[in-house]
């Protein structure tokens, strides 16, 4: 690949193109016809997402191709995460179709922003260059900043948007700073390019030991951990997320807590697992290079322990269900980090896939019960609704138990995978810290049962609260729920097919087997 070769390949960015074009169409129609009908906007979005999904499928056999001067890579890693984002967007659209009308919010911009955010996420997983990751991140972030404050007259929504914006920008600055350091660290006199943000070249230089300064790379990696840590909401960089999640409109919270998180994990894994740790040399090297990997694995291990523990412990005392799920999603970022620590991105991908399906299902129900203006989001509001809205309550129980990790659901298989990966990695590298991560992880899962069950207790065991009226459930929401339930059970009972696909997508596994 030559730097002057632009490598234009429209096919490679087809999914992103489709989604952004649809978003533009929605905006245009909205502008021309003054007010786009919500059903049309929703249907257009769904069609666009399906189209993007098909486009992603056609890219499957182009494994490993790069285009746009090495900015975009088409590999299974990208596509698997792309499917996760498309699922998130698809379910979010279904959840919001009725909601935008009930809230009397402008329809066109909402769906357009949602699609733009999705485009950004797709770019984040497709990026083969730190600059591209940054671009994708910014596209996503700016769209979601607006979405958080979408309920303009609601003070909480405004607070959420401002908080997210300030802290988000702050974390982006860290990420940029880290990127700059990495760029400097890869300086090699006389080589073309002299220094680089291209991940493949970074990988090659690390492998060959051609680094201007490993210490600088270490500093850059540390900065990037902070930046990504903000985005995925890991302790100690998690403090923004409960406020933002609680204040944002519920469908947006659902989107943020699943899509944004998964996208950040995609980039995180791309940079750390597939680049910084991808070469065998670094594991056997002596001196600063070996320290580099050791340092960040251990740092992430400690972060994951902290994240799981803080997320779960603080979730126990929450009385607002959105806030509780915010802390629960912090905890889940911790579990997914366990897979990162094990350098096994496939388990992280599966974790994210399961997590987004379950969490979106849970938020769909919370949205229905919350009603207009998110008025009923206290756990007390759920008292005794179990036998009045049996279907909704049973589904919510399923999602919560799955988040807790009960077998036969996606939540269990995903936890098993990350814990297994970390245990194996701990044994292979003789790093007992990783074993401790697993042990802390299982203890945390036990803790999490308590607060998930609290909701089940409120729904089924407590006396009914007065004034509960059965909510009307729209057809699109039923569709979203059915998809989420089927997904949760499918990934829990018959994960074989998905796992085999993931397994085959991982070049590390492929070489290890032969």
């Amino acid at each position: 690949m030559q730097p002057n070769d632009l490598g234009i390949n429209l096919h490679a960015v087809l999914p992103e193109t489709i989604i952004s074009v649809v978003a533009f169409i929605i905006m245009m129609v909205d502008a021309i016809s003054r007010n786009i009908e919500r059903r049309i906007a929703g249907a257009l979005s769904l069609l666009g997402l399906i189209g993007a999904g098909v486009a992603a499928v056609t890219l499957w056999k182009h494994d490993g191709e790069t285009s746009y001067s090495g900015m975009i890579i088409t590999d299974h890693f990208r596509l698997i995460f792309a499917f996760v984002f498309l699922i998130v967007a698809f379910l979010t659209v279904l959840i919001s179709m009725r909601w935008v009308k009930d809230e009397e919010l402008p329809v066109g911009e909402y769906f357009a922003l949602l699609l733009f955010a999705t485009t950004g996420m797709l770019f984040m997983s497709a990026a083969n260059d730190l600059v591209m990751i940054f671009l994708g991140l910014e596209i996503t972030s700016i769209s979601t900043y607006v979405l958080c404050g979408y309920r303009r007259r609601d003070l909480r929504s405004n607070e959420s948007a401002v908080k997210y914006f300030i802290l988000g920008s702050f974390s982006t600055a860290f990420l940029l700073f880290g990127i700059a350091f990495v760029y400097g660290a890869t300086y090699q006199a006389g080589a073309t390019p002299v220094a680089t943000t291209n991940l493949q070249i970074i990988k090659e230089r690390i492998a060959a030991g051609h680094l201007f300064s490993p210490e600088m790379l270490l500093a850059g990696a540390a900065m990037m951990i902070v930046g990504f840590g903000f985005k995925v909401a890991t302790a100690p960089f998690h403090v923004w997320s409960p406020d933002v999640y609680e204040g944002a409109p519920t469908p947006v919270t659902a989107f943020l807590s699943t899509g944004s998180k998964a996208a950040a994990f995609a980039s995180f894994a791309r940079v750390f697992v597939l680049t910084f740790a991808a070469t065998p040399l670094i594991a056997t090297a002596a001196g600063p290079l070996a320290n580099l990997q050791h340092a960040w694995v251990n740092a992430l291990a400690v972060m994951s322990i902290l994240t799981m523990t803080i997320g779960n412990l603080v979730a126990i005392v929450q009385s607002n269900i959105k806030r509780m799920l915010a802390y629960s999603s912090i905890a889940h970022a911790g579990y997914a980090l366990v897979g990162m620590v094990a350098l096994d991105w496939t388990s992280v991908a599966f974790y994210m896939l399961s997590y987004v399906v379950i969490n979106l299902g849970a938020f769909a129900i919370i949205e229905v019960i919350a009603r207009r203006g998110d008025r009923h989001t206290e756990i007390a509001d759920y008292q005794g609704i179990g036998f009045q809205s049996l279907g909704l309550a049973t589904a919510l129980s399923l999602f919560l138990l799955s988040l807790a990790g009960i077998p036969l659901t996606a939540g269990f298989v995903s936890k098993l995978l990350v814990f297994k990966a970390a245990w194996a990695a701990g044994s292979q590298t003789n790093n007992s810290l990783l074993h401790w991560v697993v042990i802390v992880g299982v203890i945390n899962s036990a803790i999490s049962w308590y607060y998930y069950l609290r909701v089940v207790v409120a729904m089924f065991f407590a006396e009914p609260a007065t004034g509960y009226v059965k909510p009307r459930v729209s057809r699109s929401l039923v569709a979203a729920l059915v998809l989420a339930i089927l997904g949760t059970l499918y990934l829990g009972v018959l994960p074989g097919k998905v796992l085999t696909t993931l397994d085959a997508a991982n070049p590390q596994n492929r070489t290890a087997k032969r």
Binding site: I406, L408, V438, W449, G496, L499, T500, D503
Partner: protein
């Protein structure tokens, strides 16, 4: 249906539960229809499971196996492997027997959410059977955890005053243990995979490889894994000091829930010890045996002492469980054939006797809505049949010769006393024998206060004696109490080989002929 019989027995109750969930949402389905449907499903399960016992070949290892691939990606090697061996056979039958009886016993005592109650009971049955028949660690863990949900609902929805507290305590205790077990499962799965290049969760294979020496763990690793697994089981048993969830759960659960909780769920703990801890971690088991036996003996005596002062009948029975299960743990960790056979037998005994006790307490509770001993007295005058049956069950619980309890406790004591592997075995056995005396004290004293004397409380004067349904519930249990007390070999012969397989690595010098001994001793009684 041949080789699928185990799967059918496991899943039939679940089919019943699903059937109950979907049928007859209309107006003309009465509660009676639902109850009968559930009863028919559970009885059908019991009858099918009887064929397991009849066709079971003693000493034939794991039988009626189904073994198919489930998840192979990621080197997971998860299989759907079920089967029945000498260890699990009688526990499966105990489960399938107790569920219909429990349903019958609470025929008229559930007044709200009848349908959901029956669904929970049947789902629970599937979970319980599944735990016993799983031959794959993943599958085992799956049933072990999923079973929590119906039990949790049973306590939480249909329980007594403090049901929410009890339900949450029950779940959290169990989950803490079982998640540590998950870590243990992952660890042994990985260790086994590394040693044999065969990544699998298959219990039979892992057991074979450990016995054959293909996988040998260092004592330190063994200790860690022993406790990772063990804690889950010790909590479930429950071994002192992990027992505090039990009185709460027992007391708050509805009668049917208590019967299954005491009758089956506690056995999962001791079953797990025999299935995993002893075969997988022999060095650790030997090393920790004195400590565990120490706790078991404390449990025996402490449980008995606390039971003595309980004013509440159900609580008394609950604490007596702590005491009885202490015997089981002691028998297991004596590492002798007799001790383990006794432990296994005692598991069945306790399931039947304590199950019957809970049923009996439930009957009086249905009539008076109180379980306080002080409220009763002189019931022999108004409820003669009830009093007679109560006496038989009481005597069975305190291990009167000719009744089932005696065989189990005697085998445990003799096994422990003669154990050469367990240090201070004689001391442990003697202290445990003290527990037997105490159990006679608290049970007979309780019986005396409830049944004998004059009717002091006028509210008891008009109590009706047992009706036909209640007699039908107790009859099979009473029958079994006698059969198991008189002809234990019927049961012991089928479990003998499985127990010997477990104990053999602990007694390398011993010649494998203790079978005759077991027969003689039990027949002498």
């Amino acid at each position: 249906m041949g080789e699928y019989i185990v799967t059918i027995v496991t899943l039939l109750p679940l089919v019943g539960a699903i059937y109950l969930a979907v049928i007859g949402r209309g107006e003309n389905t009465t509660e009676n229809d639902l109850k009968w449907t559930a009863l028919v499903f559970s009885l059908a399960t019991f009858i099918l499971s009887l064929s397991l016992a009849i066709r079971f070949v003693p000493g034939g290892g794991s039988q009626f196996q189904t073994d198919v691939e489930w998840i192979t990606a990621f080197k997971l090697g998860i299989r759907y492997h079920v089967g029945v061996d000498g260890l699990s056979l009688w526990l499966v039958l105990l489960t399938t027997l107790l569920v219909p009886l429990a349903l019958l016993s609470s025929w008229n005592s559930i007044h709200k959410r009848q349908r959901e109650f029956l669904i929970s009971m049947l789902a629970l049955e599937t979970g319980m059977i599944g735990v016993f028949v799983s031959m794959d660690l993943f599958l085992f863990y799956l049933y072990w955890e999923v079973m929590l949900v119906p039990m949790y609902l049973l306590i939480g929805i249909w329980g007594g005053e403090r049901r929410i507290y009890a339900a949450i305590k029950f779940v959290i205790y169990t989950v803490v243990g079982s998640l540590l077990m998950l870590a243990g499962i992952i660890a042994i799965y990985y260790a086994h995979g590394q040693a044999t290049a065969n990544y699998t969760f298959d219990i039979v294979k892992i057991t074979e490889d450990i016995r054959g020496g293909a996988l040998s763990l260092t004592p330190a690793t063994q200790s860690l894994m022993f406790w990772a697994f063990g804690l889950a089981f010790f909590i479930k048993v429950p071994l002192f000091p992990f027992h505090t969830w039990l009185p709460d759960a027992h007391v708050e659960a509805p009668t049917a829930g208590s019967v299954l909780l005491a009758g089956v769920l506690l056995k999962m703990g001791t079953y797990g010890l025999m299935r995993f801890n002893l075969p997988f971690f022999p060095d650790a088991a030997r090393q920790w045996a004195p400590f565990i036996c120490f706790l078991a003996v404390i449990g025996i005596i402490y449980g008995a002492l606390v039971a003595m002062v309980q004013p509440d009948l159900k609580k008394l029975v609950a604490y007596s469980s702590v005491s009885h299960l202490g015997f089981v743990v002691l028998g297991i960790f004596s590492f002798t054939d007799k001790g383990m056979q006794g432990a296994l037998y005692q598991m069945l005994n306790h399931g039947i006797s304590t199950g019957a006790l809970f049923v009996i307490v439930g009957m009086i509770y249905d009539r008076r809505h109180t379980r306080l001993i002080a409220e009763f007295g002189g019931l022999a005058n108004v409820m003669p049949v009830y009093s007679t049956l109560f006496l038989i069950v009481t005597l069975s619980s305190i291990a009167l010769p000719l009744l089932n309890g005696f065989v189990g406790e005697f085998l445990v004591l003799i096994g422990t006393y003669t154990s050469t592997v367990l240090p201070q075995a004689k001391l442990f056995a003697s202290l445990a024998a003290l527990g037997m005396i105490l159990s006679a004290v608290y049970m007979l004293w309780m019986y005396q206060r409830v049944i004998y004397g004059k009717v002091t409380n006028p509210a008891n004067l008009k109590l009706a004696d047992l009706n036909l349904r209640e007699k039908v519930v107790l009859a099979p249990m009473i029958l079994l109490i006698f059969v198991m007390g008189v002809y234990p070999n019927l049961f012991l012969a089928r479990s003998k080989q499985a127990v010997q397989d477990i104990s053999a690595p602990y007694n390398p010098g011993a010649v494998a002929t203790p079978r005759a001994g077991v027969m003689n001793e039990t027949e002498e009684k």
